[in-house]
Symmetry: C2
Subunit: 243 residues, 2 copies
């Protein structure tokens, strides 16, 4: 069933009107009166609706059933990725959304080559949030992961440490595996941090330890900065019983 | 340490000469006499070498230590991916190599939109194998995964079923998780099959069952055809103790 995200306010009544991009999208799909669609508020609430009328720029819907989304993972996984070159962050936002990330946080670190200035950052954030929304629609998510940035590496560590469990992946770590860190104690929220193209500096790893993060390996192969977060997220989803 | 792949024959003696693309690569990295490099035969054997001489198109090395590669996973995971549009297969070949795949097998299925003809396939295979070699070098693999294609969906199933465990991922499967399939009995080789953009047809899933494959879910979110194989491979690497 085709899925559309609307604001929570739009979902309150017995009738919903799709406008703007949603209406354009419905047009492209040639949806017709009588067909069913799934409407989500992006916060985990959904309703099944029947299309009652289609005009040139609006679609009118009748709400049939309300339900909680069944597609949201049990664990809230926050993906923290260092700023990186090219479209790597966009790639990770799209894939992490599919894989069930709760939010994606971009942060600066010493060896980041690419660090957007304030003006371009606002534009990028808007674009990134759209990528997350589109991936959420296509993958059948009940929530749209929030994409945000933090100003400093320290701020990323402090924010990450607020989760039940926070893990920094470091290519020179050998002893502690992700499995060890996950099996230590139960958790319902987790932060997963990975470095930029050039890796993290040893002193940054020390800072993470001091902030209370576990330092873990992702195996004996060196993963690219866009592969590591998705590998870690896939493993966490597997380990927490999603598949 | 920089890693170069040579043929097994080149690795037999006490001296190794890097030529062709390897020599060009060494030039780009400005490697000098006295520096150490890692030479691999692509089959899991490595040796640490010292650069003795650098000429305009050759690099001469002295072999110091021979060792088995420690970067190869304990389990041989074969990634079977249906032919797909654009550069998705290339993307998966690169990432699956990083993540430790033993081989990558492309296969046709009913809903494949893109199916290369014989002539373009030969060219593509050459290109794909280069992508695997380059990713193996960068990620520090001891082996270069072989990239191959099979002629039919049936042939893919039969080949996949030769592994200790063979799993087909299907978005309409709800009951059987990957975890269940992995925990059934021990294995040292595994085949992971995923469908094309449009998914697999129900009769293709039945064929896989008949061929002895487990049919598993990858969770309640719909993954893109290039996300699913990497998610599955990451989970298998995690489950088999790689990280």
């Amino acid at each position: 069933m085709t899925r559309f995200f609307v604001t929570p306010e739009q979902m309150l009544g017995d009738f919903i009107v799709l406008t703007g991009e949603n209406a354009v999208h419905a047009k492209v799909l040639r949806l017709k009166a009588g067909e069913q669609v799934l409407i989500c508020d992006g916060g985990g609430n959904e309703c099944i609706c029947t299309i009652s009328d289609v005009s040139s720029n609006q679609i009118s819907l009748v709400v049939n059933n309300r339900q909680e989304s069944s597609a949201e993972p049990k664990v809230r996984a926050s993906v923290y990725m260092a700023f990186s070159k090219g479209d790597k962050l966009e790639h990770v936002i799209q894939k992490a959304t599919e894989l069930g990330a709760y939010e994606i946080v971009a942060f600066p670190s010493s060896r980041c080559v690419s660090r957007p200035d304030e003006k371009s950052l606002a534009k990028k954030l808007e674009r990134w949030q759209k990528i997350a929304a589109s991936a959420a629609e296509q993958s059948g998510r009940g929530c749209i992961p929030k994409v945000l940035t933090v100003d400093s590496y320290k701020a990323a560590l402090n924010r990450a440490a607020e989760a039940d469990k926070a893990i920094l992946f470091y290519e020179n770590e050998r002893a502690t595996t992700l499995k060890m860190a996950l099996e230590m104690e139960p958790f319902t929220s987790i932060s997963l941090l990975t470095g930029p193209e050039g890796g993290l500096e040893p002193k940054e790893v020390e800072m993470a330890k001091d902030a209370g993060l576990h330092i873990c390996t992702l195996g004996s192969r060196i993963l690219r900065c866009e592969t590591a977060p998705l590998c870690a997220l896939s493993a966490v989803m597997y380990a927490t019983g999603e598949f």
